[in-house]
């Protein structure tokens, strides 16, 4: 029966890879089929309808709220001009040194990456950051990669991600935070190395472009004419981080504090209500795709944790899972590409289900699975040519996502290796 479940999972991956089904729909379908194959009844205890669909769908509710708040804060960063001001200041201070600008945009991307991940973060930093980098001579692929590597520096401190791994792997937030702090230096060193090495290798480039005078700038909106956000408002992305990391405040109040700080530092009292509502509703739109995915992941996790599924998968997974720490690092480092192209190790896809299996069958401690999943997430978040932030950044810079993958993969692969080494040393 375990083999049948693995075959069903493989079919699910094929459906996602071939784009026959959107990831979220494929995961729900997969969950229902796995539940039936595992012998779950239709209703009642450990059943398809009550356990998998009813209890699974809201299982990651806290993550969904955190995602929504992050998106709300992201909308505020955009509307109040905080993200744009950060990039503009960097270009003004260091625009004649392209490497300085790239490092500055990397830092801004990391900051917004801690608030909101995926495409919204790429847009926040990249809408001005990518053309600004290209204008000072950074090659297009390097510019797109800089945004993505920057977001990846922020991922270890992205509060909705903490919430996701905490709920999905049933680990306390403290444990997730502890590992993320260890993962961060690898992400940071790789990102800075990317900018320095790629800048050195590729140098600068300038074009005589036909498009330079073709695009007539749009008339500036009243908001844009109000000018830069005040300097103290630029600290907004750091507020939730300081509260959650420094004061160990819970994730949702930390994000709410960020929303309030952005509001009071940029908005006149009479405009506050309107701005709050407008950005909140805008946040819902941004958060819709990841929330849909988290509903599906919750359902899949509920399915793979059914007793029938655990009993069927345990002997199979045990047989192929390395227990020796060195072998663990080697095998899972070699398997890194399996998290690309919506592959089976993608933590925001079938990888969440596999992580659930590894924990439910007791093959690895939950903290070790956290180490694996977060290490793979660093790769997926940057290099996967099907992930929304990679597609958006590459296309906005005028290159293909595959070009960005080829250039960034070596760096993030090393990050994954580092994360797996820490995992093996700490938890195996």
């Amino acid at each position: 029966m375990g083999v049948v479940i693995l075959l069903v999972m493989a079919a699910g991956v094929a459906a996602m890879l071939s784009r026959k089904l959107p990831t979220a729909f494929a995961l729900v379908l997969l969950a229902v089929v796995i539940a039936f194959v595992a012998g779950a009844p239709l209703t009642g205890k450990d059943s398809v309808l009550d356990t998998v669909l009813q209890e699974g769908a809201p299982a990651l509710a806290a993550t969904m709220i955190a995602i929504l708040l992050g998106s709300w804060l992201g909308k505020l960063l955009e509307e109040t001009g905080i993200a744009g001001t950060l990039v503009r200041k960097i270009v003004e201070f260091g625009g004649d040194r392209p490497v300085f600008v790239a490092l500055g945009v990397l830092a801004v991307s990391a900051l917004v990456g801690t608030v909101t991940g995926s495409a919204p973060a790429a847009m926040l930093a990249g809408l001005i950051g990518i053309p600004a980098m290209i204008a000072v001579g950074i090659p297009k692929v390097t510019a797109a990669g800089t945004i993505l590597m920057g977001i990846a520096v922020g991922i270890p401190f992205e509060l909705p991600v903490w919430q996701f791994f905490s709920t999905a792997l049933e680990l306390p937030v403290d444990t997730v935070r502890g590992f993320m702090v260890k993962l961060f230096p690898f992400a940071l060193v790789a990102a800075v190395a990317y900018v320095l090495v790629e800048s050195r290798r590729r140098g600068v480039e300038h074009t005589w472009s036909l498009k330079s005078v073709q695009d007539k700038p749009a008339a500036p909106s009243r908001r844009k004419l109000l000018g830069d956000a005040p300097w103290y408002a630029l600290l907004t992305p750091a507020v939730p981080l300081i509260l959650a990391l420094g004061f160990e405040l819970a994730i949702i109040p930390s994000l709410l504090a960020g929303v309030l700080y952005a509001l009071v530092t940029t908005t006149r009292p009479r405009d506050m209500n309107r701005r709050l509502l407008r950005t909140l509703y805008g946040g819902f739109e941004v958060a819709a795709p990841p929330i849909t995915l988290f509903v599906a992941i919750g359902i899949l996790l509920a399915a793979v944790k059914l007793p029938g599924a655990v009993d069927a998968l345990e002997p199979l997974v045990k047989a192929v899972s390395p227990q020796n720490p060195i072998l663990f690092v080697l095998v899972f480092t070699v398997l890194v590409p399996l998290c690309l192209y919506r592959g089976p190790l993608n933590a925001f896809g079938l990888g969440a289900g596999i992580a659930g299996v590894l924990i439910a069958t007791g093959i690895y401690p939950a903290a070790a699975v956290l180490g694996m999943a977060t290490s793979y997430n660093q790769v997926f978040g940057v290099a996967d040519p099907t992930s929304t932030q990679t597609v958006w950044s590459a296309q906005y810079a005028g290159v293909s996502p595959q070009q960005v993958m080829v250039r960034t993969l070596p760096y993030v692969w090393v990050v994954a290796l580092g994360g797996l080494c820490v995992t093996a040393a700490s938890y195996l």
Binding site: G84, V87, R88, K89, V91, E92, F93, G94, G95, D96, L127, I128, P131, A132, A135, V136, G137, P139, R200, R201, R202, G203, V204, E205, H206, T207, W208, S209, L210, K211, S212, V213, Q214, D215, K216, P217, P220, S221, K224, L225, G227
Partner: protein, 183 residues
Amino acid sequence: MSADHDLDLAVRLLAGTPTHEGRDPLTLRQWAIAAEEFGSRMTPEETPVRVVERDDGLAAGLLARYRSRPPVVELYVDTVARAEQLVVERGWRHWYPEGSVRAAALAHEQAHAWLHHAHVRAEFKRALGHTALRLGRRRVYAHVAGADELAAHAYARAACGLGRSPLLLTEALAAVAYPESEK
């Protein structure tokens, strides 16, 4: 009149450059004038640069590209040929002599390379006069995104003895290459 149009094009280029959203048009005009003046009096050193000819410029929307490592200028010959043809069609030969588009492209990229020298950068920022930070009498000059492009065009115009800015030619080429977006 023609000088005014060239300046309008320069201001439009700056206004369309990221980080200048919502900038006062008068400020952009002052920067454009300063950048063009600086570019037209630049005296870049002759450095050996490999020139590579390519023929996919119209599709990519490019006339030339400079890469610093290794130093190479890519010249998009299809765009250059189309530009020369356009000069004839529009009756602009007195502004852009035969072969001047290629020469302007090479000069433009030579100017970009020159603008990466530290002392040139510092001098250029002083000429633009945009302040990033002021501490008492001390002043940190700011980089103005897009100004180097104007300086490079101005240098190309001066070095090749063009009657009008290369920006006019760029605008005409863009209108031919992307007729839909001009509507």
